[in-house]
């Protein structure tokens, strides 16, 4: 089990967002977090990635409490792609992706070594951004930028990848391309992936399991077919839906809002 949470509770100053969540992921599994706005999906991801400190509970990475491990060891095993990235000025794509090797480098290391260079090139090729290596990151389109930041995360050579709404600001074509790419990477690298996604249908199509969050509590976790029931969607989103079976899995068709 690469990552496991035991009754974690946490949030922001004076505001507890996540309460008592137990979740265990398997190796090579893709889990998507779903829930209404403010349900705590991004906060949960920030707790997992140590951006926020839990007030209670444990987060175990390969069986060890994550806050007891040195930050660079955690970063060697787990990479995060935040929802909004600061776009650095004056950096080319290659320079950006090279920074992904930081957790593997000693503090006096000035340049990439042979292994670093190999991992950076691999990440650039796998995310199909290698042709843009010399371009400044600021000149990339939204889709290219997202792939460049994904390459940065892959250059860390992680076993676990956390992505907070990676398809935001992308058109439907780029959304599909990115999720297909993640699916391929999951197979090639045996990655464990945790994503926050707003699009229930895309989440159902690509994820092995879904975790539904409702006002900071874990409503349920299971395969898309198990968890996406009309009752659950009324409870969590306040929406009446029709569930349709399609060749690419179940699809949710919203019918009416139950909130008046």
């Amino acid at each position: 089990m690469p990552i496991e949470t035991q009754k974690i509770t946490g949030g922001y100053k004076n505001k507890t967002v996540i309460r008592q969540i137990d979740l265990t992921l398997q190796n090579g599994e893709w889990l998507s977090l779903l829930g209404a706005n403010g349900s705590g999906k991004s906060t949960f991801l920030k707790l997992l990635s140590r951006i926020l400190q839990p007030t209670k509970g444990l987060i175990l990475l390969d069986g060890k409490e994550i806050h007891d491990l040195p930050p660079n060891i955690v970063a060697q095993k787990m990479a995060i792609l935040p929802q909004q990235q600061t776009v650095p000025t004056g950096l080319t794509v290659h320079q950006l992706v090279s920074l992904g090797r930081t957790p593997h480098q000693s503090w006096w290391q000035w340049e990439l070594d042979v292994e670093d260079r190999q991992k950076v090139e691999e990440a650039l090729v796998q995310t199909q951004i290698d042709r843009e290596s010399d371009r400044p990151v600021t000149q990339l389109s939204g889709g290219e930028r997202q792939r460049a930041f994904l390459a940065l995360a892959l250059a860390q050579d992680p076993k676990i990848l956390l992505l907070d709404e990676p398809t935001t600001y992308l058109d439907i074509n780029y959304q599909l391309q990115l999720l297909e790419l993640l699916n391929r990477l999951k197979q090639q690298r045996e990655l464990t992936i945790i994503t926050v996604l707003h699009d229930i249908n895309l989440a159902a199509r690509y994820s092995d399991r879904l975790a539904l969050l409702d006002r900071g509590l874990l409503y349920g976790v299971g395969t898309p077919a198990e968890i996406l029931t009309p009752e659950a969607l009324i409870d969590v989103f306040g929406v009446k839906v029709e569930i349709i079976d399609t060749p690419v899995g179940i699809q949710i068709c919203p019918i009416a809002s139950c909130v008046t």
């Binding site: 040195p70 990235q85 930081t102 957790p103």
Partner: protein, 336 residues
Amino acid sequence: MKSSQKRRSTTFNSRIQLTILLVTIGLILTLALSLSLGAVHLSLSELWQAFLRQGEPVNQTIFWDLRLPRVMAAVTVGAALGTSGALLQGMLRNSLATPFLLGISAGAGLVVVAMVTLGVFQAWIPLAAWMGSVLTTVIVYFLAKTGDGIAIERLILGGVAISSLFGSIQTTLLLLSEEGRIQRALNWIVGSLNGRGWSELTMAGPYIAVALLCACLLARSLNVLNLGDDLAVGLGVSLARSRIFIGGVATLLAAGAVSVAGLIGFVGLVVPHGMRLLIGGNDYRWLIPLSAAGGALVLSLADLLSRMGAVELPVGAVTSLLGSPLFVWLLYRRSY
């Protein structure tokens, strides 16, 4: 792929190499002119003889006791200010950050003005200025402290608030003091290298050198911090620890510069921007050492210019005079 690698490294290195070449040649020429020009002109051969402690005794005195310590002070102070500016601009992700943003100038200024206007402990002014700088930054850091880290906005706003408070006390003290003392305090506030000698250098020089080395080692952390807090944490950087280290080194550099030459403005702001423009990027592994070399060059040149007229100007006045238009020009040229 190999050809793209080759092209990338060539493009990247050639601009940096050119910048290193330009700054080195500029620095050597400026230092040679600074040692040579003055009330008594020394030719290259006279300089060489004086360096070997041969020839006219008066030339040896001019070289060893007047010009060399002053030039060394300009190089040391300029390097410290340039590096400090680059560190703070990177750490705060704010291109307007200067070495004095965290209240360093206000703290040092208040202590020095108090000592000058009250006429006490005059010999201890450099050390007191250093302590004033460091203590003020510590106060600003405490103001910026959140539960488990340092908030950048609070750090900047805390620096502004403390600077404003200390500045008003400083002005009040100046208004209440005798005229002769105002002049002396002003000379120090504007920043000057006039009369700076080996004693100031031996006091501040060694630890400025160590801080410069530490700054170079912090360059990789700065590159990662530039990606934003969330990604930096994801890449294994401890935000609080990095900010304390980077801010601490930047403060020690600026405080060291202040203790030698007073409050010299614009070097810490303009030099990192100029270097970014020259290398065409924001890679702190190069930006930090080049800001040190660029700061040394700019302050040596400003000091040389300040000595060229009939009346010697404080070097701080020259850097501000040249720095403001240069900064505006850099802002319009910037493409990094």
